[in-house]
């Protein structure tokens, strides 16, 4: 019984309650308190992460309490390598988002004085943010599948309110679409969760005890489908992706970061942990169709991104393309591809987070997300432009930046995967590599239209980043570059978990290096 994870979840919840109960008119205090709480969580997470033993048992910092014995449900938490890095990702992003959203609820005015967003409740926003943080940590830390499901669904609510109350003009449409899409997937998963419990007949939802229990191939397939659809919607995978551009475009930049950076990762995380390990035979049987969907996502997301006129929608579509990579990596079922996919989840969080935030800072200055309303930003605000460019380059997976390592691992891992006879996966990897070209088109074309060229008239009044905004972006950029050259700390944590996953999936796909040594 390790107290780490319950504490990690309790701190933001308590923080949220405190922030919500602050007296009227203490907006500033609410912000400071939220920042403090999120920083405390970050520190705690890092302290915990340092104690993680990479060679140790798969799940560490385990804590299991009875919750609903009638249903066989336990409050079971614990982290493996992948969960750990994703929790760390959440913990890193939240304080950044808090700082980035500092004035989001205050009501903003564009340079020419028109009201962009009206004043809204600051306390509510920040307490929702903290509640969301607790749930994000919870969803990754759950070792009980029922508990996972609870967080999986409950997470929607704070995000729903953050989009719906604090978002752009189309916010309520986007929020409802987001909620219903996710809820629908979640409910199908609920059926599968129940059926898993019933069919397994173990009287428990604890993940480690359910691995390898379901043997019947037909049952596996049905249950797999139930989980997978939910995760595919969450991830989102083509063709159930259309909620993301709306939600991400309408959400305030900070919420969009958490939505795309962390919440959507639950989908791919779930595929990797639950779809694969609980239903290995079904996963193998469905690999090809899913990889095809993933490849479609990659290419399709990229092409549609090229055609977007709204920055945030564009970024959302790039994410769809990137999620395609993650899904492909997961289902290619090789050590390299899955490690790459897990790493991609983290890197994508940083890269897209930086991109959304930088775009958000741009939009906050101009009051319009339309690319056509910009031009020549580089000349006026070189710092903002520089950060935006680096974030964009991370988005196109420029080597030397963190997303390259993961994308490369996914592609090469998929190509070299021998899990299913290499042919089809090799083709998938090659086709997905075309996204390398498309990514350059969508990012650089956006950069060209916003940062470059003659300075547009309204842009001339822009102020460059202030200290708060620099503090928001700089750590992300540092992480992007740092992990671009030194991905080892993350990979060392991820790799053993992936190995364990592959053992559970019964795929014999040893690491490249071992193979090489053998020859």
């Amino acid at each position: 019984m390790s107290p780490w994870l319950p504490i990690l979840m309790a701190v933001p919840v308590l923080g949220a309650i405190v922030v919500a109960l602050l007296p009227k008119g203490s907006d500033k205090l609410a912000k400071q308190a939220t920042l403090l709480v999120s920083l405390v969580v970050l520190v705690l997470t890092l302290v915990m992460a340092v104690q993680f033993k990479t060679g140790g048992p798969r799940f560490q910092f385990q804590a299991v309490y009875d919750w609903i014995p009638s249903f066989g449900v336990k409050f079971g938490v614990g982290v493996d390598g992948i969960a750990l890095v994703l929790i760390a990702l959440s913990a890193v992003l939240v304080p950044i988002v808090v700082l980035a959203s500092w004035h989001d609820a205050d009501g903003t005015q564009s340079a020419d004085g028109t009201l962009i967003t009206p004043k809204r409740s600051v306390k509510t926003y920040f307490s929702l943010l903290l509640v969301l943080e607790a749930m994000m940590i919870g969803v990754f830390a759950s070792t009980d599948i029922f508990l996972f499901y609870v967080f999986f669904e409950a997470m929607l609510i704070p995000m729903y309110f953050m989009i719906g109350s604090y978002g752009g003009a189309q916010r309520s449409y986007a929020a409802v679409k987001f909620l219903l899409y996710s809820l629908f997937g979640g409910l199908l998963m609920l059926v599968a969760v129940i059926a898993l419990y019933v069919v397994a007949g173990k009287g428990t939802f604890m993940f480690p005890e359910l691995v390898g229990v379901i043997q019947d191939p037909a049952t596996q397939k049905w249950l797999f489908a139930g989980f997978f659809i939910a995760f595919a919607i969450k991830a989102p995978l083509w063709p159930v992706h259309t909620w993301l551009p709306d939600a991400a475009a309408q959400a305030p930049a900070g919420a969009a970061v958490l939505l795309v950076g962390v919440l959507d990762k639950v989908g791919t995380f779930g595929m990797l942990r639950f779809c694969l390990e609980l239903f290995p035979d079904a996963a193998k049987a469905f690999t090809m169709p899913i990889v095809v969907l993933a490849v479609i996502s990659i290419i399709y997301g990229a092409i549609v991104a090229i055609g977007q006129t709204d920055m945030k929608r564009l970024i959302a579509y790039t994410s769809i393309s990137h999620f395609g990579f993650i899904v492909m990596g997961v289902f290619a079922m090789s050590q390299v591809s899955q490690s790459g996919a897990a790493l991609y989840m983290v890197n994508h969080g940083f890269a897209t987070g930086a991109l959304f935030l930088a775009a958000g800072f741009l939009i906050a200055r101009r009051g319009s997300p339309h690319i056509a309303d910009y031009g020549g930003v580089q000349k006026v605000t070189p710092l903002l432009a520089g950060f935006f460019l680096i974030a964009g380059l991370a988005g196109l997976s420029l080597p030397g930046l963190s997303s390259f390592v993961s994308e490369f691992m996914v592609m090469i891992g998929t190509y070299t995967s021998s899990a299913f006879g290499s042919g089809a996966l090799a083709v998938a990897a090659i086709v997905s590599a075309l996204a390398v070209i498309l990514a350059a088109v969508y990012i650089l074309w956006m950069v060209q239209r916003t940062l470059n060229g003659p300075t547009a008239e309204p842009v001339k009044a822009f102020k460059d980043l202030n200290v708060r905004e620099i503090v928001v972006l700089a750590p992300l950029i540092a992480l992007i570059i740092g992990f671009g050259f030194f991905p080892k700390p993350l990979l060392d944590v991820i790799n053993p978990t992936v190995t364990q996953t592959l053992v559970n999936v019964k795929v014999d796909n040893p690491a490249i290096a071992e193979k090489g040594a053998g020859q």
Partner: protein, 528 residues
């Protein structure tokens, strides 16, 4: 020949809760007759509340003593078994809470006899008159609700049904505002209710014809020996079903629900949506599981279709509703459908049946508590002409009154079954029971049960849309300039909302105590 009349044995102790309620009702009538007008209310309120609380206490005493009878009491007329006691407890809590709401000024007409808009009405209102008959009527209805699910023969059940329904017909017509609607609701409810009771009765007659008895034990026995294909039996079964399904508002017998829920005074709607539903589901279970348990191979497929239709009709029709109470009525229809999934989760496996029963009872508890809370919120949002029923009036409520809107949003999320609310665990319990029973070896409906659950989640997703729509209206829309006012709530209403919220949140976080209760109550199943 010794023809001496043997006095029937009545277990007064066991029946005490019910008898207390009925007794209080009779006393209430006497109060109406003899107490001076100005004193009546101050007598009725404590009388009603104390009798309900007392009845609840008596239920608790029985539970605590553990002396749950294993055979029907009162000469085989009433079965006070675990489920009965649970349902009684739930109904008594609900009715207590509803009475707190009823107690609030302004819901009931000053003089039902006065024609709406006439001078009589103005005069009655000016005199500050009120229908204190409401209290004994409610007590009679509650008594009926207690009897209905606990009855052990069809005749007692019929009587219970009528005792429950007749006062409600009247109560529906007593709204202070929008009296035309209220009276119309009352008449529709009455005519259709009477119509459906006739079906129930005719079904009873057929069953009696087949089994030679109306006692559930007897019917059960007859079904284990006689020909199960007798048309009289099947006809009786279907007509009984009509009467019971009508009461829970299952499709295609749901038509009355929206009209009546909309027209009736809101506290009465709350009572119907919670107490009546609980009682009716209890009765439905008793008839179908106890009396007709041996016939489940026949009625389960049909119930499958009814459940599916009910969920879909409720969810789909709710989407386009514009009146909050009407929408909640359709929501209640959809929930009746979910409950029917649970009702189907039975066949010849008593352990599994106990789980299903527990799931249904748990669902009833959490759903009805949330419902009462939701209607209590509805009473507080007011226009000059009464409650602001039309949804457009709710726009921007979240900005004008964030706490109230937040609570209502939470109730809606509970209806939608979002995790960390009580509604989620209710839904989960029922779905889990259905899947578990479907996967038991020997269930002929195995895969179909899964299909029904999938249909159930699809309906839940559709249903989520209209719950979410209200949240969107309240929080994401700008308030109307002449928006509704929020009534300063009475202590009673505050208490109602607080209790519902507490249970909805509490059970949402820690459902185990309630589940234990339901499990314990269901462990012995129904007395056969």
């Amino acid at each position: 020949m010794n023809d001496a009349v043997v006095a029937p044995t009545i277990e007064y102790g066991t029946l005490a809760p019910m008898l207390l309620v009925f007794g209080a009702a009779v006393v209430g009538v006497l109060v109406e007759a003899f107490a001076p007008r100005y004193m009546r209310k101050s007598i009725h309120v404590p009388l009603t509340l104390l009798s309900l609380a007392g009845a609840f206490a008596l239920v608790i005493v029985q539970v605590v003593k553990g002396a749950v009878p294993t055979a029907p009491v009162a000469m085989g007329a009433v079965a006070v078994d675990g489920p009965s006691l649970f349902i009684w407890g739930v109904i008594l809590v609900l009715s207590f809470v509803c009475v707190l709401m009823i107690n609030d000024e302004g819901h009931f007409v000053a003089s039902a006899a006065a024609v709406p808009g006439s001078a009589d009405e103005e005069e009655a209102e000016a005199a500050g008159g009120s229908h204190t008959e409401v209290y004994p009527l409610v007590l009679f209805a509650v008594g009926g609700m207690l009897l209905f699910p606990a009855s052990h023969d069809l005749l007692t059940m019929f009587v219970g049904l009528e005792v429950m329904s007749l006062p409600l017909y009247l109560l529906c017509g007593l709204a202070r505002r929008r009296r035309l609607l209220s009276q119309e609701a009352s008449m529709k409810y009455f005519l259709l209710g009477a119509f459906s009771s006739a079906f129930f009765l005719y079904g009873t007659a057929m069953i009696y014809g087949f089994a030679g008895t109306v006692s559930f034990t007897g019917i059960n026995k007859a079904l284990s020996t006689g020909s199960l294909l007798d048309p009289i039996l099947l006809l009786g079964l279907s007509l009984l079903g009509v009467g019971l399904l009508f009461k829970i508002g299952a499709a295609p017998f749901q038509a009355w629900k929206p009209d009546v829920y909309q027209g009736a005074p809101t506290p009465i709607t709350a009572l119907m949506a919670s107490g009546t539903l609980v009682a009716a589901v209890g009765a439905l279970l008793r008839v179908f599981w106890v009396a007709l348990g041996n016939l489940d191979w026949d009625w389960r497929p049909v119930m499958w279709a009814v459940a599916a239709l009910t969920m879909v009709v409720g969810a789909i029709l709710a989407i386009t509703q514009t009146d909050i109470k009407r929408m909640l009525a359709y929501s209640s229809i959809a929930h009746a459908g979910f409950l029917l999934i649970g009702v189907m989760a039975t066949f010849d496996k008593s352990a599994q049946n106990a789980k299903s029963l527990s799931a249904i009872m748990f669902y009833l508890l959490v759903y009805s508590i949330t419902t009462v809370g939701a209607f209590a919120v509805v009473t507080m949002v007011r226009d000059p002409g009464g409650e602001a029923g039309h949804l457009s009036r709710w726009a921007g409520l979240g900005k004008r009154s964030p706490i109230l809107a937040g609570i209502f949003a939470f109730f809606l999320l509970a209806f939608a079954g979002i995790p960390l609310t009580s509604g989620f665990f209710g839904k989960y319990a029922v779905f889990a029971a259905a899947l578990a029973s479907g996967s038991e070896a020997g269930d002929s409906l195995g895969g179909w049960m899964t299909g029904l659950v999938v249909l159930g989640v699809v309906a839940s997703a559709i249903a989520a849309f209209f719950y979410v729509r209200v949240i969107v209206l309240m929080f994401f829309s700008d308030p109307a300039a002449d928006g509704p006012s929020i009534a300063v709530p009475s202590m009673g209403t505050v208490a109602v909302i607080a209790i519902s919220l507490l249970i909805t949140v509490g059970v949402g976080l820690f459902p185990q105590p309630m589940l234990d209760l339901a499990n314990q109550a269901a462990s012995g199943l129904f007395i056969r």
